[in-house]
Amino acid sequence: MKFIHAADLHLGSPFKGLTDLPLQIKQQVLQAITQSFTALIDTAVKQKVDFVILAGDQFDDVQRNLQAQVLLQQQLIRLADAQIPVFMVYGNHDYLTADQAMINLPDNVRVFGPKVTTKTLQTKSGVTVAVSGFSYDQNHITTDRLAEYPQRQSQVDYQIGILHGQIGQPGDNYAPFTLQELMSKGYDYWALGHIHQRSILAQKPYIIYPGNIQGRHRNETEAKGFYLVNYDGQQTRPQFQASAPVIWQNVTLSVADLTDIDKLMAAIQAAITVPENTLVELTLTQVQTLPPKLLEKITSGELLATLQTLDHQQHFNYVYRLKTEAQPLQVYQSIDAQYWQAAAKEVFQADAIQKHLGKLQQVEAIRELYQQKDFPQWIQQQTLTLLEQNEGELQ
């Protein structure tokens, strides 16, 4: 028996953390999630899987973008045409609400309600499968729902549990559970969702986070896709299938001993060129060793601009951000160090900073930034970098 386990599709979700993209790349980016999902369905049909499991967060928000719904419907219809049933739960982003979808899903799709239920299926080859799961009906599920899951049924050949949540304790926001609890149910496979970084938490039975199917920002790097799971009657063999057309990468490159622009460019190219289409955040370390004119090119943004105007027709490894790391120089004199530090304590206070913002406090993007816990330290670091960059002026 074969099935596909995927989660966190986040259909319709945009890419975050980019300020702009060249047109061709932008178009590919807009299509990236769709492409990844379509590839998933292609595999399902080609491999003639017995069923597909979608473990939550199919949509980015509870409003459910219309086109995302249409996309889901169209692709699930393809599965319906191939007589492949779908087991689906909704997660914390796309939880069930009273006024639901405007798009009707085909009959082969079996959605789990807010209470834990078990649905059974008999595959074409006669294997009986039971699937237990539930959908979120609100943003946070703080109780431990595992108690509601039944013990493994004896008369079925294979039992799967679907759970969109996170390891934790009751009171945590996302259906907290422990590995022991999962294992105690005696199921043959746990299809998890919610964590976007894929990982295999256990092997007997397999407890798997497939991760999301397409990275959307700098924290969702490397290959993304879904799991194709094979069960031959005795052993379960999950196999990761990459399906994301655009890969995020964070690359670090030391520029020590690079003395001119050509060597620098060559080194950069070597570091970022890969066969896949990538969006790269490139961090150059030890930039203090560079000749000043070269460093100037970096800090002025000229180097980045050059990197970004390379050809992106068929394939791109696009550097969307260029960061530099230098050995921190003493910006201020040590005899005044105490005053600098005292002043820093005064200036880099959350409330003090907020006072500066004025109307900017109301800007969503900005609020998001400064409401982060370590924002004062972070902005202090940025300011220090700024001073470092300008410390040449002081000499």
């Binding site: 945009p14 807009l30 005899i335 200036v347 900017l360 969503e364 993007a365």
Partner: protein, 837 residues
């Protein structure tokens, strides 16, 4: 620490020079370009490091022009211990630093510890005061000057201030609360626009839902309308059906109205028919019988005849038999005799034709006659033969003519003459010829005449015989044949006679019979009619017999009785139906039949109209019906048009739905929103860090200053008093405000001072701060021609000032003015320029 001397190997314009300094203070004076400034820079370079290619103008490298060496030594006294700091640079990168305490080398780390926290930068900022420091003050605005003064207490405060201003500037370039064209402002503007756009697009979901609702609604509307139309259609069909049935209905109505004649029961009618039939047949039979009777009945005449016949029956029968025989004979006559007669006659005719001269009565010759004829015939023949022997008989007549003879003879004569040319001869010949021929002819003629006579005689004899015996008059008659033929003829004639006799016999017999018959038969009857007569009589007899047999009269009487009975029954039946004659009943019956048809029709119509009847009965005329129908049709049309409109609307809405579903704009705008957000965050970070950098700097400077200020204030006050020649005795620092107080206890804010005085105030603070720093680091103070712009009176104050400063810190002071230099103790004055380069 105090600098006791220097040894310059190569620096700027200095080459291989050694100088000694006084530990308290050292004044160095010289003209411009004498290397004073260079010297100070040298000290700094040796102590803290050569200037690199990086960095700014303040701190120059002073690569020596005339020496291959670069660097030198500085001699220090640290806590009464002599130290040597030697720093040289070979080439571009090899900077060699060696430090000795006395003659012992010192670890560089220890040296660093010694000079810490002083760095080249710090030294430059705090322990190095030159004109530029003060000159720059002149370029500041009043506020900036105040600021400068207020923040003297931090290291490099002026530069920091400049940087802070730059940062603030940068930030202001990026964003201002009411800005429109600045980067962050524009991004924020864009953000608003994108959000609005997104919100509009986000309505898609609602719009889609709304459209779905509308579509459902319209579908139910359509359904209803369709139902309505179907109903109306049904009604229309019904009405049209009624209209169709209308004529039939009218007919039905008519039929309903008719009154029917009483119906003859089928049994009765059958009875009636039977009676009629009976009557008829009875009548028929009766008539037949009566006819028969009539037929058979003999008339009186017939009776008489019959009696007569019966009387003579036997004889008549006999005669009949005879007649039969005769008939038989007649037939025989007919069959045989007659034909034979005909045959013979034909044969006779044939023979007559064949033979000329033969007649019916011709008899064959007897044998003697025959031989006679033959002899005669022979004679003729002989005569002829002789005649023929005579030549010339055959000559044609023409030749006998004389004319011809003459001509011929002439001809001969001519010919001869011609040939012989002897006309005498010719003449002779002619005559001869003539004569010959004439004779000849004559002879011949005679001869022929004779023979002819003989012939004629023979012929005559023959002819006479012929006439006698009735032979034809032909001369060459073949008598034998004639004989045969004659014999034949004779035979035929005999036969003929025989036959005729037969006939005659029959005839006689017939006549006899005739006679007899005539006797027997009644007068009116001819014998030829015997058979007929007998037959007739026989028939009469038969009739009589029949009549007697059949008893016809009784039968007829019976029939008549029956007939009466039948008629009575008939009348009874008729009476039952109140009619008098059978025709009337028949008419009634026809009427009945017609009625049946009608009734049937009525029944059929009733059946046909059954379902529609109640409706039809409600309508008075078909015009009403037609009106209803046309009204319905109009309604249906209107409804169908409405339906089409609804369909169109539904299609439109569904197309809109599809458009919404296909529209990619939301995703695009969402992505733009993210781009915008990231850009805002980046720009904001830049802006904020610039703002905070400026703030950090000014806060630090303020903190440092306000920390050091109180202590510095005392010194600054002192210095300021000295520099202003005791004019201003006090400096007050109250609530961040700086003010000076003169002897008269008048307070002046810094803004109220003249620029020169303000500069001196700044200098006082700078010196005070330098001493603060010096307290920490005990480094000498290098003042490069900085105390200028003082009038003479104040100049001397500077001397006192330096001497005072020197108490705690070594001062190395350069100047160009000899007068100033002379104010100092000569031992502390070094002159550059004349002997050193």
């Amino acid at each position: 620490m105090r600098i006791t001397g220097v040894k310059i190997l190569g620096f700027g314009c200095w080459v291989d020079q050694t100088l000694e300094f006084q530990p308290d203070y050292q004044v160095i004076w010289g003209n411009n370009e004498s290397g004073k400034t260079t010297l100070l820079h040298f000290i700094r370079s040796i102590l803290f490091g050569f200037a690199t290619a990086r960095g700014h103008k303040k701190y120059l490298q002073y690569i020596p022009h005339n020496s291959s060496q670069y660097g030198g030594e500085v001699y220090l006294t640290v806590e009464q211990t002599p130290w040597t700091v030697r720093r040289i640079k070979k080439g571009k990168k090899n900077e060699e630093l060696s430090v000795f305490r006395g003659s012992e080398p010192v670890a560089l780390a220890e040296y660093q510890d010694l000079i810490a926290p002083m760095t080249a930068t710090l030294f430059g900022q705090t322990n190095f005061i030159d004109r530029t420091t003060l000159d720059q003050v002149y370029q500041l605005t009043d506020d900036q000057l105040l600021e400068a003064i207020m923040t003297v207490g931090a290291v490099g405060s002026k530069d920091w201030l400049q940087l802070a201003h730059q940062f603030t500037n940068n930030a202001d370039q990026m964003y201002r609360p009411r800005g429109k064209k600045l980067v962050l402002n524009q991004l924020l503007q864009q953000s608003g626009e994108l959000q609005t756009h997104l919100t509009d697009l986000a309505h898609e979901n609602q719009d889609f839902q709304k459209l779905a609702q509308q579509v459902t609604q319209i579908q139910s509307q359509k359904k209803q309308l369709q139902k309505q139309i179907t109903q109306q259609q049904h009604q229309l069909d019904q009405q049209q059906h009624l209209l169709q049935l209308w004529p039939q209905y009218q007919k039905w109505q008519e039929l309903q109205a008719t009154k029917y004649q009483p119906e003859i029961a089928s049994a009765d009618w059958q009875h009636f028919e039977k009676l009629q039939q009976q009557l008829q047949s009875q009548q028929q039979v009766q008539t037949n019988l009566q006819a028969q009777q009539a037929q058979l009945q003999l008339s009186r005449a017939e009776q008489t005849q019959l009696q007569y016949y019966q009387a003579h029956a036997t004889e008549l029968h006999q005669l009949q038999a005879t007649k039969q025989q005769l008939d038989f004979t007649a037939s025989q006559m007919q069959q045989q005799v007659k034909p034979q007669q005909q045959e013979v006659e034909a044969q006779i005719q044939t023979l007559l034709q064949q033979t000329d001269g033969l007649q019916a009565t011709t008899q064959p010759l007897s044998s003697t006659e025959l031989s006679t004829y033959q002899q005669l015939q022979q004679k003729v023949q002989e005569a002829k033969t002789t005649a023929n022997a005579i030549p010339g008989i055959a000559l044609p007549a023409t030749f006998s003519k004389p004319s011809v003879v003459i001509v011929l003879s002439l001809l001969v004569g001519v010919l001869t003459g011609g040939i012989s040319h002897n006309w005498f001869l010719a003449g002779v010949i002619f005559l001869l010829a003539l004569g010959l021929s004439w004779w000849g002819l004559h002879y011949v003629r005679r001869q022929s005449q004779v023979s002819e006579q003989k012939v004629a005689a023979a012929i005559t004899a023959l002819q006479q015989f012929q006439t006698k015996h009735h032979l034809p008059q032909t001369p060459d008659l073949d008598i034998l044949t004639w004989q045969t033929q004659a014999a034949q003829m004779s035979h035929y004639q005999t036969r003929l006679v025989q036959l005729q006799e037969q006939v005659q016999q029959y005839q006689q017999a017939l006549d006899h019979w005739r006679q007899q018959t005539q006797n027997q038969l009644p007068d009116a009857i001819a014998p030829a009619e015997l058979a007929h007569y007998c037959q007739r009589m026989e028939k009469l007899q038969q009739r009589q017999e029949q009549l007697q047999q059949q008893q016809l009269t009784d039968q007829i009487a019976d029939l008549q009785q029956q007939h009466k009975q039948t008629q009575a029954a008939l009348i009874k039946l008729l009476q039952q139906y109140h009619v008098t004659t059978a025709e009337e009943l028949e008419q009634l019956h026809r009427q009945n039949l017609a009625d049946v048809q009608q009734r049937e029709q009525q029944r059929v119509l009733q059946q046909t109209l059954k379902t529609a009847l109640p409706q039809l009965q409600q309508i008075d005329t078909n015009t009403t019906l037609e009106n209803q129908i046309s009204a319905l049709q109009t309604t249906i049309q209107t409804d169908q048009k409405q339906l089409a409109v609804l369909n169109e609307q539904q299609a439109q809405w569904q197309a809109e739905q599809q458009h919404l579903a296909d529209d990619n704009q939301f995703a695009q705008v969402q992505q733009e929103v993210e781009f915008n957000k990231a850009a805002i965050q980046e720009t904001f970070t830049q802006w904020l860090s610039n703002q905070l950098a400026a703030l950090w700097i000014s806060t630090t400077l303020n903190q440092a200053s306000s920390n050091r200020y109180p202590h510095m204030l005392a010194r600054a006050q002192q210095f300021f008093a000295r520099l202003t020649n005791q004019r201003y005795r006090k400096i007050e620092f109250i609530k961040q405000e700086l003010a000076v107080v003169n002897a008269q206890k008048d307070r002046f804010t810094v803004r109220e001072l003249s620029r020169g005085t303000a500069t001196q105030l700044f200098l006082a603070f700078t010196l005070a701060f330098a001493l603060e720093v010096a307290d920490l680091s005990a480094m000498p103070l290098l003042i490069d021609d900085a105390l200028v712009d003082c009038d003479q009176v104040r100049r001397s104050n500077i001397v006192g000032l330096i001497q005072e400063l020197a108490a705690t810190t070594q001062i190395i002071y350069t100047c160009t003015d000899i007068h100033t230099a002379n104010l100092f103790a000569a031992s502390n004055v070094l002159q550059l320029g004349k002997d050193d380069h």
